[in-house]
Symmetry: D3
Subunit: 238 residues, 6 copies
């Protein structure tokens, strides 16, 4: 099956990771997966949330949001509606959980890092681009902390990257763009460590249920995609 | 490894499915997975949400909530806090998606079914118990509609059941109770059709990343658990 | 006048009070007045609200809510709407005030009891059933505290029960079910102590104003009904 | 017992009812019960709420609120807090119900009257002053409508007035001021028609439960107080 | 051009400043600019907001609001809508900033004054009337504090007054009433100190952009109007 | 006085206007005033708000927001807080009013343009940069509409630009950066048409009141700055 942009089924879109995009944030990255463009800003804060005080351990959390005109038609702002939608909540939680998988809280000490992932432009895979970029922003924020001796060693025990995979017209594809995402029968997000282990696997039957063989083929694609993204993260941080 | 309640690793807790627990709802089920107790009420409404009007197709949605004292310590009500939390949003969306996987919207016609899943008592696996019970409530609501000729045929193309699996102290376990859930290194929810295909797979590394072999073992457990739950749903509906 | 369910005008519906319905709560009761079914959970918390700190006195409060499909047609959740309605506020306040009438705060010490009254099924008289059941849940929570020496003596100076009365087609009736409640010209809720004194009297002209004689007849019915409920509470606690 | 302001137990505070206090409202009254000062504005609106459309019947509703510095210490605005408190809800509902007791909806036709009762200064009895003043504002709004032939006859079938009564140091008192209200063992609000029938009776044991004799003495005081207020309303409207 | 009420273009409406309108507030003023009537209540509170603690400096802030029927047609309450509108926010901030221009925070000490400006009736210029009245209420609150030795000297370094000006049918006018305000091509609010310096100048092209000459003429009118209001404030405080 | 970045008092920071920064929006601009970076997206929508339907006239509105880490320290999201702050409201209103000053609604027809101005990075003057960029985004959106014959002619009757001016250490300065803004005694925003007339003038005494001479000097600076920005807008659109 030919993809709209001529890619092979197992090929990522062009990925760019631009570090230091913001002047103020301790770590910041503009990450692009094709037309998807997410600004990731890591903010270091001394101290931890109340429920964690006195534990000697740090905390990492994330907030995801989309600008109103990131998409093809304008969406109302969640601030104007006065409440955060379920999709936003769900993705913010996923990003936070994913990043926490590579952090040693004790080495981080009682410090917090909040990573804001704002989608400036959306073309599918915004949550996986966000995780991939957020890790790099987190790494820069951690370097900033280490320069200031805020932590006793390297709190990052591994790296984290993520990619979407899905079945479109019976063909498993890597890194779906928006039109592919809409047409997918099955959609899966795979979050992995640099060491090649799973942090999160979320597969959803959009159009029809899927069998174990389809699940396995999607996991294969996701594993390969994350490995390539891990390579790109390393190159960006080099 | 011995489980606290003496179960085998691949054994479900005692499951009861009590139909018709409420007088008013078109379908209602009190479902129990051990100490987890969820009241599922299916409400039939003529018409569909605005964005679906004129499509000739129906809609199924779900809302999940937990009573303040379902858990070991009391949680504030989301109505009092004035906003729904991320976890509630996420689970409501999961239940809705899962049920929609077994519905033929065209046969349903322009009717809606809302399924309220209220956790009266929580002991792990509330979302999977909710999905399993909600399907039975939905089936009863659909029977109610068919008696009234509201749909032209059976809109349920299959059944749906769900179970949690996880790795605790390196042992894969089926249907985690609360203490097991808290101790799990990896946690996965598996939603399947009666025909044995996947609707949703959500695996999360709680403590440490997991490899492909662990993922496969958890899927095996989940497949077997869902098959048993499908059998119990059929018995309850017989 | 014959009542729909064959009761005499001065007769309560079948009342059941099931203690210990929940595993986690310090006191819990499923109370049923005919088809009205309310789950009352009493949660003990060390400490008191900020405005009461250092007083040496405790606090008792209540929250009332109705599940979306407790009623004949589904109501939107207040958590989804993002605000608590006036009726909910009013009833929560009434239940709290009623229970506080039987508590000696000094003996309770600086401890709080929150009583959640969730209506699982509604058929009229939900607030009076809630008060009647909540007292029993409170009594169990107090026993739990006394076993743990959290208070220096018995903080319950009396019991509290409540019942609705009303005038339907010119006949004063005790314990109105939903269809009677809707048809009532005058509606009154009576809350009384076990000793037979009034805690709260709320009479409302629904259809037409009422005179002193009607008020007196309603009070007579309410006094008798509360006495019977007091007897049932004592039996349940025996 | 001597009252702080020298009144007899069965004596109202000085009551003034100033009509036409606002230039824009169809009916407006500044009502004063001693130091309690409530501005009541009746707004006529063509049409009725959605649930009443096509019924041929009108609607009357009320909203109560207190300015932040109506009281001895400043209260935060409910608009700033983003939610209406339980007390405000409860009183708004009481005022609406009370006024509706004197309205014939069919004669009113499909028109609405909203009565805003804003407490400019509080010294006890704000809700009863509000009801008493709101009736006069409603009467003026109805006259305004009748001049414009918006209704076919007089939709007011009677008048409505309200007063608080309470037991302070074992003495039943009429029309409690703030310091008396705080000291009251029992507190009751009585709403009556001009014809001397009850619209609403709300008695609450603040400090200790009360017996039937106390209830009767309070009702006697309330009946006399409402009769006097009815006389003052008539004089104001003459 | 003749103005509807016969005023000259450079003439204020009748202004009345009634001090001590409320019994409880430390300073209170009912200010009237023609048909515009604003109740200003100054509340003294010991202590300052958290971000200012330990600075040795005080704080002054304001909240503006309009009663629902202050205007020709009824507006919904912001408390009912659950959020404060942009216009309310903007005016509250303007009043606070204006008053702070005449306060020496160090002399005020760590005390706060909150000034509530509630529009009882609106006929144009509500924000400028509010500022003019709020200053007088603030002055009375400051006197109250000085009597109690809460501050070491006079924290008011000057007075503040405000007036609206605008161009209607090409004629610059002082102190616009509502009908003039609606018809204005340009609208400006001028806030000045008693010493004749500017605190705030906000000019807006409502219908068409304005040139420097028009701006100058409006400023001339505003300067004269504020001088007259300063005189009236002094007289009221004498 | 030497400015931190070596500019003359009457010199703008480097200004860049990048059109077409977003793929989806009908008009989009990334505008930079030195370190201030605002993304302006103009969205065309058929139809107008309800209150304007049937008028034959269009509508233009704007929403301003700041990303959490646009500033030196992180700010909580307004969507998370559940309400929009006063500053955001105020600036959104200012931008909308400013743009509307150059639009002929009748030529626009019953179409709406919403302009989202999201501050990606803040270094003073975000509202004036937003207005200046938003005009260019609006112009592009209007061209898009004209290509599709959505309006009968050019609805833009002029251009609009804005700049901040202020007095720092007694020196009037053009286009304040953040550190200058914080130190300013007086702060003014000037919005002007391309023809050199005023749309909005907002001057505020931050530290001390200002006299007419200072006001005049600031206006002179603002007039010159807006003329230069108008030239840059024209160049960008050429």
């Amino acid at each position: 099956m030919a993809r709209a942009d001529g890619r092979n089924p197992d090929q990522l879109r062009p990925v760019t990771i631009t570090r230091g995009w913001l002047a103020h944030a301790e770590g910041s990255v503009l990450v692009e997966f094709g037309g998807t463009r997410v600004l990731c800003a890591a903010s270091v804060q001394e101290g931890v949330p109340r429920w964690r005080k006195g534990s000697g351990q740090g905390w990492v959390t994330a907030e995801y949001s989309m600008l109103p005109r990131a998409t093809n038609t304008r969406n109302d702002r969640e601030s104007v509606r006065g409440r955060i939608g379920g999709r936003t909540h769900e993705i913010s939680r996923l990003i936070g959980r994913s990043l926490r998988a590579c952090v040693d809280y004790k080495i981080l000490g009682e410090n917090s890092v909040v990573i804001d992932c704002d989608v400036l432009q959306a073309d599918g895979g915004t949550r996986t681009a966000a995780i991939t970029g957020a890790y790099v922003a987190l790494a820069d924020a951690v370097s900033w902390m280490r320069e200031r001796k805020m932590c006793k060693g390297d709190p990052l025990v591994d790296s984290v990257a993520a990619v979407s995979v899905g079945v479109v017209k019976s063909t498993p594809l890597l890194d779906l763009c928006y039109t592919e995402d809409v047409a997918a029968e099955t959609d899966m997000n795979v979050v992995m460590t640099g060491a090649g282990e799973f942090v999160e696997v979320q597969g959803t039957a959009e159009g029809r249920p899927f069998d174990r063989a389809a699940l396995d083929r999607l996991l294969d694609l996701g594993v390969a995609g994350c490995a390539e993204l891990t390579r790109l993260q390393k190159a960006a941080l080099a």
